[in-house]
Symmetry: C2
C-alpha cells in the first residue's frame, strides 16, 4: 500500500486555546467526515490543510512545521511526539496562511468567484466585474496559497521516497496538481471537484489566463474526479475547447502533450452508520416530539434543509408552495412547509441579499394564506443536524430544488431516515439526481409551476407508490455509502501506480 497525502482547505480537527488549555475539535462538513473514514484506515497517511485558528498555527510551529498526530477516541486528542496510540489517528500538517493572503485566496477568488462561476450564478450583463483587485487576489492569493500547499504536499511526498498517492480536494486548489507533478513525477495525483463543473461557456466568465491556468493545473493530475458523469463530460469538453487537448469522450480520457489524464465520476455519499445512529438518538427524538403536531390528524409536512446560498433555490421553492396553495386552497391548514436554513456567508452582499429575498417571500406567502393558528411556512434560521434529522423523519415531501449542486447530501440523509413514506422532490441539476432520479419526482429548478405540480403529485400519491420510491432511494444510498466512495477511488489510483 502506497502512502497517501490528502489536501483540503478545512482539516479533520482544529485547535483552540481556552482558559483550561489547548482543546481540539473534530472538523465539520461532509468532506471531512468522508475523508476521516479513509484516513483512519491507512497505514501511512498525512492530511494537509489550512491552519484555521491561531492555535492550529501555534501547534504547527511547536512541531517545527512537521505534521502532528491526532487520535480519535472518538473525540480528537493531540498525541505527544513520542506517544503511540492503538486506535484510529490522523497525521495533520497545518499550512499557515496570513490573513490578508487568505482573504484574497478564499474571500475573493474561491468564494465567491469560482463558486459563482461553477454554479452558473452570474447574470453576465452586470456581474461579475473582473478588476485589478481580482487579478491581484488571483496572483497574490489563489496562486500563492496553491503554491504553499503544493510545496507542503511535495515535501510530504518526498519524505515518503517520492512515491505516494496524492488526493487533492475541491475548488480551492486547482493549481496544486501541476505544481506537485513538477517536483514529484512518480506520484499518482488525483483531484476531486466537489462542486459542479460547467461546460466551456461557463468558464468564459474568467479571463483566458485564469481559466487556462486552472485547467492546466488540473491536467497535471492523473485523475480528475467529479460526483457525476455529466460534470466529467463537461471537464473533457473544457480540456478540448479551452486548452486544446485530444479528448476521448466515450473513454472519458484525454491526452495533453505526452500525458494521459482520466476524468471519472465517483458519487459521494453519507456515512450510513453514523446517520442511522444519530437518527436513533434521544436528541432527535426530542426534536421530533416538538414537530409531531405538524403531522397529526391527517396533516402533511413539506421539509427543506439548506444553507441560504443562492444556488439552493429557496425563493423559488417557497413561491412554488404559494402557487400550490393558490391552486388548492383546500390544503390551507393541512400542509405546512418546514424549512431549516443555515445562514451562510452573510458578509458577502449576494448572500445577504438572497437571505432578504427568502424572508420577503416567506412573509408574502404567509400573509396571503395564513389562517387562525396556522402559518403555511415555518422558517427556522439555524444550524441543527439533530433537528434536521427529526424533520426528515416526519416529512411527507422533502424538497431539494437547487439551481445547481455538486451532489446534495440532504437528499441522501433524508431518504435514509424518513419514517412516513416521504417522497423526495429532487432537482435535475443536483449531482444526486444521477443516482436518485429514478426514485424521486424530478424538479425543474426554474419552473415554478412544475414544482407546484410536483408537490401536488407527491402529496396525493398512493401510499404504495410513495413507499416504493422511498425504498428504492434508501437502498441506493445504503448500497453506496461514503466508505465505498473512498474505496473505489483508492483502488483506481493504486492501479495507476507505476
Amino acid at each position: 500500500m502506497l502512502p497517501v497525502v490528502l489536501a483540503s482547505h478545512r482539516g479533520p480537527a482544529s485547535f483552540s486555546r481556552t482558559p483550561s488549555g489547548l482543546t481540539v475539535k473534530r472538523g465539520a462538513g461532509g468532506l471531512v467526515t468522508a475523508l476521516m473514514g479513509l484516513a483512519e484506515h491507512l497505514t501511512d497517511a498525512v492530511w494537509v490543510c489550512a491552519a484555521a485558528t491561531e492555535a492550529d498555527a501555534a501547534v504547527a510551529a511547536e512541531h517545527e512545521g512537521h505534521s502532528v498526530e491526532i487520535a480519535f477516541t472518538p473525540e480528537p486528542e493531540l498525541l505527544a511526539q513520542d506517544e503511540t496510540f492503538d486506535g484510529p489517528s490522523v497525521n495533520v500538517r497545518y499550512v499557515e496562511v496570513d490573513p490578508e493572503r487568505h482573504r484574497m485566496f478564499y474571500g475573493e477568488i474561491a468564494n465567491p468567484l469560482l463558486w459563482f462561476v461553477q454554479h452558473g450564478l452570474y447574470g453576465r450583463a452586470m456581474d461579475p466585474d473582473i478588476t485589478a483587485e481580482t487579478h491581484r487576489a488571483f496572483d497574490e492569493g489563489y496562486v500563492a496559497v496553491n503554491r504553499m500547499f503544493a510545496d507542503t504536499v511535495a515535501e510530504e511526498v518526498e519524505q515518503r521516497g517520492g512515491r505516494a498517492i496524492v488526493m487533492l480536494q475541491d475548488y480551492h486548489f486547482y493549481l496544486v496538481g501541476e505544481m506537485v507533478r513538477e517536483r514529484c513525477p512518480d506520484a499518482v495525483i488525483s483531484h476531486f471537484v466537489h462542486i459542479p463543473w460547467p461546460s466551456p461557456d461557463g468558464w468564459r466568465i474568467l479571463p483566458p489566463t485564469m481559466r487556462e491556468s486552472l485547467l492546466r493545473g488540473l491536467l497535471g493530475c492523473d485523475v480528475v474526479a467529479f460526483h457525476t458523469r455529466r460534470f466529467a463530460r463537461n471537464f473533457l469538453a473544457c480540456a478540448a475547447e479551452i486548452v486544446d487537448c485530444d479528448v476521448d469522450m466515450r473513454g472519458m480520457a484525454m491526452r495533453c502533450g505526452d500525458r494521459a489524464i482520466a476524468a471519472r465520476a465517483y458519487p459521494i455519499s453519507v456515512d450510513v452508520e453514523a446517520v442511522d445512529k444519530l437518527a436513533a438518538s434521544e436528541e432527535v427524538a426530542a426534536h421530533r416530539a416538538t414537530l409531531t403536531s405538524y403531522v397529526e390528524d391527517g396533516q402533511q409536512l413539506v421539509v427543506r434543509v439548506d444553507r441560504t446560498d443562492p444556488s439552493k433555490n429557496i425563493v423559488r421553492g417557497f413561491r412554488a408552495f404559494g402557487i400550490l396553495l393558490d391552486e388548492h386552497p383546500e390544503l390551507r391548514g393541512k400542509v405546512t412547509f418546514l424549512a431549516s436554513l443555515m445562514p451562510s456567508r452573510t458578509d458577502v452582499p449576494e448572500y445577504a441579499d438572497y437571505l432578504a429575498q427568502v424572508g420577503a417571500v416567506v412573509a408574502e406567502v404567509n400573509a396571503r394564506h395564513h389562517m387562525e393558528g396556522w402559518q403555511p411556512i415555518d422558517l427556522r434560521l439555524q444550524e441543527d443536524l439533530a433537528f434536521a434529522l427529526a424533520a426528515y423523519q416526519l416529512a411527507d415531501l422533502l424538497v431539494v430544488n437547487a439551481v445547481n449542486d455538486g451532489m446534495n447530501l440532504v437528499a441522501k440523509e433524508a431518504v435514509l431516515v424518513n419514517q412516513r413514506d416521504g417522497v423526495l422532490l429532487l432537482s435535475e441539476s443536483t449531482g444526486a439526481h444521477e443516482e436518485l432520479g429514478p426514485h424521486a419526482l424530478t424538479l425543474h429548478p426554474f419552473d415554478l409551476q412544475q414544482q407546484a405540480d410536483a408537490m401536488w403529485t407527491g402529496l396525493t400519491m398512493p401510499t404504495a407508490d410513495r413507499r416504493r420510491l422511498l425504498r428504492g432511494a434508501a437502498d441506493e444510498v445504503r448500497g453506496n455509502d461514503v466508505e465505498r466512495w473512498l474505496r473505489r477511488q483508492l483502488d483506481d489510483l493504486l492501479a495507476k501506480a507505476p
Copy 2:
C-alpha cells in the same frame, strides 16, 4: 437549380397605408439585406415572413394567401398579378399572426426568453421564472406560430413539386424544420441560427420538454448553420447531451435515428459594395464634418455603436474608459469616447434597467473627469447609420466588448470604412472574433482592467502597427462579403439535394 423557400420573422418589404395610398418600404436589418442579395439572384424563390403591419395582412388577403411579387427598382414596388418585371424582384408570402399570439411567440418566448438563454444573461438565482404563463406562451404562441410558418413553407414546397431548398432563419423558428420534414421528405432543409448557441448547461434553464423540442425541431433539418465553429460545436454537444444523438465532433456531423445532420459555420458579413457607397455619400460627409473637431490637434476618438442591449456590455466599456482616465489623467481633454446607441426593447424591464445603468455610468465618468469645454463621453441615443459610418471613419479605436454576440457586423463595417488607421478592440465572445481576432486587440468582456489596458495599447500603438492590423481586418471582410456567405450555403445545400 432547385427552387428556394426562405423563412424569417421579418420580411424584405412591408406595406403601410398612407393618405396617398399603399406604400411599401424595404425591410431594415442585416439579415434582410443579406437575404435580398440571394433572393434577387434566384429563378424561383419565395420568402415567407410575418405580416408586420395591417397593410401587409390586407395585401396578403387580397392575394388570397398566395405570395405577392415585389420589384426592387431599387425602391420596392408591388407588381400586379399579371405584370412582368425585368429586374430584381422577390416573391413574398405574408403569414398573418393575431396580435395576442404574436405577443406570446415574440414578446414572451423568442424575446426575451430565448434571447437571454442564448446570450447567457440570466443570473439563475432569481431569474428567470418559468410559470404557467410561460408554458402557455410556448404552446399557444411559439409552437402555434411555428406550426403556421411550417404549414406555409410546406405549402410553398408542395406547389413546387415537393423538391426545394428550405432556408429557415434564426431563433424564432426552431420547430419549423421538423414540421416541414414530416410533410416534405424530399426537401433539403437548413436552419441558420444568427445568435450564439450556448453549451448544454446554458439550455438547462429551459424546462426539459422545451429544450428537447427545440433541439428535435432543428434536428429535422439537413444542415444547422451558425456564424462560428464554436457555436456549431456547442450544438453538437447539445445533440449528444440533451437528445442523445450520436455525434462526430471532428466531422461536425450527427446521426439521430436514421437521419444524418451536419453542423456548419458560415460567418455572415456585410454588403461591401453598399457600405462603401454609403460611406462615400454626402450624408456621411456632413456628419463627419460635425465630428472632425474630436480628432483635431492630436486628439483621439474612441467609438462604439450598438443597440442598448444588455448583451452589448456598454456599461463595462464606459467603466473601463473611466479606469483609463484614472490611470492616465494626461488623456483628459485629449481622448473622447463617442457612443451612438440605439434604444432597444425599452418595454422590456431588463432593457429599461440597462439603459438606466448606461445613463448612470456616463454621468458618473463625465462628472469625475470633465474639464472646461470637454466631456469624456459623448453619448447619442439615436439610430443613424450615416452618423455611425462617419464615426467609424474617424475612430482611432472602435470598441466592441460584447458579453456575447452571434457575429457583430459593427466590427466588419467599421474596419471597411475607417480612415485613421483605427484599431479594432474586439470581444473574444463575438462571432466576428473567429475571423477578425488576429487583426484586432482582443477584449475580455468581464475584465475592466484588461479593457482599459487594451484601450491604452491601442491609443499608443505605432502607426505602422495600427495600419497593418486595420488592413488585415479590412482584407478579411472584403474577401468574405455577404454574397459569398450566401453562395457557400447554397452550394452546400444543392450538393445535398437527392
